[in-house]
């Protein structure tokens, strides 16, 4: 496995954990107004308008996708034209095999346009987001892919207000948990006991549900 080294460089973060997307969004806006530089937010689902609030620009992946699509279209045409017109024209029933059969190349050109766009764009997305199979994730909260939303502030950055003020602000905005020196971790770094402790709370009702189910099935 490869380590993903965006967060794992022993960086310390000030984090606020929220359980409601509206509160998170409001907190981001408030902090931004105060001039606090926010590192990033981590949410289990896409929170609308959060990227605007954080000041992110719309991704340029669409331009890349368009270029890939053009390439696919061109490949489709080249493929069909070279094979059926240039290299080995198949004359069937004395019909011409030249550029006038262009219309029958359209389906293949179309399909390759789609194929190249889809794969090109997804590969670019993975590359841009530094995602690859086997890479280790860096998490700030074990439940950030479940029900918690994390607002992370890089401690190395100079902020307009003091760290204590940020913590009080986060609490005021409804953070259920704050931490002023949190390091990123990944699931393979957590020990078994820690894991059992972490999963104890959310797991209890699950077990109860299955146990009520089992006797019924027997």
């Amino acid at each position: 496995m490869v380590d993903k080294s965006i967060l794992l460089d022993n960086k310390k973060f000030t984090i606020g954990i929220f359980d409601d997307s509206d509160k998170l969004l409001h907190a981001v806006k408030t902090l931004k107004e105060k001039g606090v530089k926010i590192f990033d937010c981590y949410t289990p689902f896409p929170v609308h308008h959060l990227d605007h609030a954080l000041g992110y620009h719309r991704t340029n992946l669409t331009i890349g996708a368009f270029l890939c699509g053009m390439l696919g279209c061109l490949s489709g045409f080249t493929l069909a034209y070279y094979m059926n017109v240039v290299d080995w024209p198949m004359i069937i029933g004395g019909k011409p095999q030249d550029i006038s059969v262009f219309t029958s190349f359209i389906p293949v050109m179309f399909e390759l346009t789609i194929l190249f766009t889809a794969f090109g764009m997804v590969i670019m997305f993975f590359a841009r987001s530094r995602m690859i199979h086997g890479i280790k994730e860096d998490l700030l909260s074990r439940r950030q892919t479940d029900d918690h939303m994390v607002l992370a502030i890089d401690n190395d950055e100079d902020q307009a207000i003091s760290n204590d003020d940020i913590l009080t602000l986060l609490k005021k905005e409804g953070a259920i948990e704050v931490n002023n020196s949190k390091e990123a971790f990944n699931t393979s770094l957590t020990s078994e006991e820690e894991l059992a402790k972490l999963l104890k709370k959310p797991k209890a009702p699950t077990k109860a549900k299955t146990s009520t189910k089992k006797p019924k099935k027997k």
Binding site: L79, V101, M131, L195, T206
Partner: protein, 448 residues
Amino acid sequence: MYTADIRQPLVTGGKTYSDVTKDVCRPIENKPTPSWWLGFSIAVLLLLLLAGTLAWTVWEGIGTWNVNKSVMWGWDITNFVFWVGIGHAGTLISAILLLFRQKWRMAINRSAEAMTIFAVFCAAIFPLFHMGRVWLGYWPLPLPNAFGSLWVNFNSPLLWDVFAISTYLSVSLVFWYLGLIPDIATVRDRATTKARKFWYGFFAMGWNGSAKSWGRYEVVALILAGISTPLVLSVHTIVSMDFATSVIPGWHTTIFPPYFVAGAIFSGFGMVLTLLLIARYVMNYEDYITSEHLEAMTKVILLTGSIVGLAYITEFVIAAYSGYEYEQYAFANRMFGPYAWAYWTMMFCNLMAPQVFWSKWARTTPWFIFIISIIVNIGMWFERFVIIVTSLHRDFLPSSWVMYHATWVEVGIFLGTFGLFFTCFFMFAKFLPVINMAEVKTIIKDKE
């Protein structure tokens, strides 16, 4: 949060974010239930039947099928078109409904997309084995070869089909996988066993739900939906061209592309309903797949069923009006010839049966929808059977008229593909989140 007061909530039961996670991860994190084992065993038995009948076909030759010089397409291509059609609902739900901002799709798109992929697997078997020598299955690909650089023929709709279906399968896989990544990450972060931690970690690709990634992710999903929409329409258009570009009476009609696309969506929704009604019952997902979802899907069935019915009638009227006796005969033969039973089964199942969905009771009663969805599946299989067999069995030369009946091998392969389909689906239900957690969490408070 968007709320429309005349609408019911999309997720009932007052679920919280962590409830969604727990409910969806339950089958993955616990041992399979007895009902899962039962269904899975039946599916694997059918899969063995598939393996056996295919092996027999290869060993003994294509003569084990009853396809003959008049009816050269028989059950085989019927099943191919049937399975490709089934797949279309998945893409419709995940792509077209995303473009139309139909949020009810979110609870069902994952399983519908999975169904698409498995259905295309099943479909691909038929043309491959129909070639007779399946080990030469790579011949339709545009590869350099030792036959005097004789390339594939780009004027042939059969070649377009090769490109369309393979693109469709790969793009659907990518779209499905992209949607799965955040949910796989959720399973990874809850994992208690080493194996689960490793495999879900491997496939989650380091996803941590950062706002930057989500921003890009949503754009990618939107563009993928945008390109999948014309793709799905093109696939069945091209499948219909396999027929429509020929000069066979009964096939040579310009109405085929839209008629086939509507039929594909119709049959696909039939299959989605069949599967989801079972899944929601067995896995207790009534709070996610509510009667609102069922109602919306039955409305799509009603619409596409009516389009298909209209196409049947249009086809008939055009044939009658054409003044072309072969075309007229082909249609008279369909309705009153030796395969009339198949034609009227099709008419009943596709045109009449879905009309019950005009009633609200029918649209919201699960057991009733289940019956109709099975009828729709049967009807759409018969549609392809009628189109293929009745058009071929009596051609221009009466001396070569034949009757066509499938052998046990052909029937076995068809039943076997259900085995493949359900084996894949049961594995999917055990190892992957059946409901798109990330998307459902965005709508648990919505009414739309």
